[in-house]
Assembly symmetry: C2
Homo-oligomer: 180 residues x 2
Amino acid sequence: MAGARQLTELEGCVLGNLKVLGPCTPYAIRREFLASTTPYWSGSAGAIYPLVKRLERQGLLRSESHATGKRRSKRLVLTPAGQRALLGWLRPPFPDWVVGVPPDPLRTRLRFLGALPAVEQTKFLADAERQIQFHLQAAEADCEQQRDDLYAYRMARGAVAALKARLEWVREIAGDVKQE
Amino acid sequence: MAGARQLTELEGCVLGNLKVLGPCTPYAIRREFLASTTPYWSGSAGAIYPLVKRLERQGLLRSESHATGKRRSKRLVLTPAGQRALLGWLRPPFPDWVVGVPPDPLRTRLRFLGALPAVEQTKFLADAERQIQFHLQAAEADCEQQRDDLYAYRMARGAVAALKARLEWVREIAGDVKQE
DNA sequence: TGTGACATGTAATATGTTACATGATTGA
DNA sequence: TCAATCATGTAACATATTACATGTCACA
């Protein structure tokens, strides 16, 4: 019983998906990332397959070769140790960076808005507003489609909430800038 | 006029800080990251110093040796090419991942809440709520302290908005779970 | 019969993290 | 004078990205 190091975010997600989906192929997990509306991870093959191998070496999952026809295929299964690792990643206490101010690449850029000439500042904010609105609509549509999966639905609601808050915030700044 | 590749997020931040602070030492920039309320980048020496070297090689900044007393010291200066690179990073059009649903490690975890037994789900949500509230208070205090720097103040407001939205969202879910 | 999606993987590359090393300066 | 902090840097390491390689399957 050595190891038991903390999982990385991506590892946690992979184990979490394996738990939610039940035994499945690496590609099935990969598809979850590819289809995700949050584009933080690309779900690239170069990330998933080596990661799965890593977890297997550490005994957090087992792979049964499960050939269908002539096609080589694996079926991944979560082990008890994998279960424990997943819970350890998931459960409180949360590190500060998990519950604290979440990262936001647009907020990052807005920090340096002063580097742009005044005209471009207005354009920056107008463009941002328009595009957030676009993504908000997409998130709301996604919400409707997830009505059958309670947890996925809550995620979608969270995405909507985050985008709404950001939209309001950007509008407030746009108002400030126009007043000058 | 070759190069002109897009900057990474951290590179953009470093150039942005250099623009905002004016000519300064690498350490002064590093301190901005170390002091940041968003713990996304650690501001580790191993990230900043090699990055500065990289940008210097690419001609985006110049370093003048600026010894004070016996202490070796550099003063970094943004070059015209660095200015252009900064604007290219900052300005619209924004990639989808910049304006779309921002990443959030807590939301990520909530996706897999179903992996926890019911009792622990309640505790998860209660803990999350309490800790978000704590960080919200810190963000609001930070807001007050940034009143003198307009751009930093707006950032702080954005952080508050993000935390408030998340808090409300978590409370909603907690309400749902209790009803079961 | 061939084109594109499915599925698994590897290689080169980039970049951020921790940990370490070095020396200057400040203040108790 | 001793410790902590300032300030600059390097080395080992982990891990995600893009691009590539390979072969199967469905379908037009």
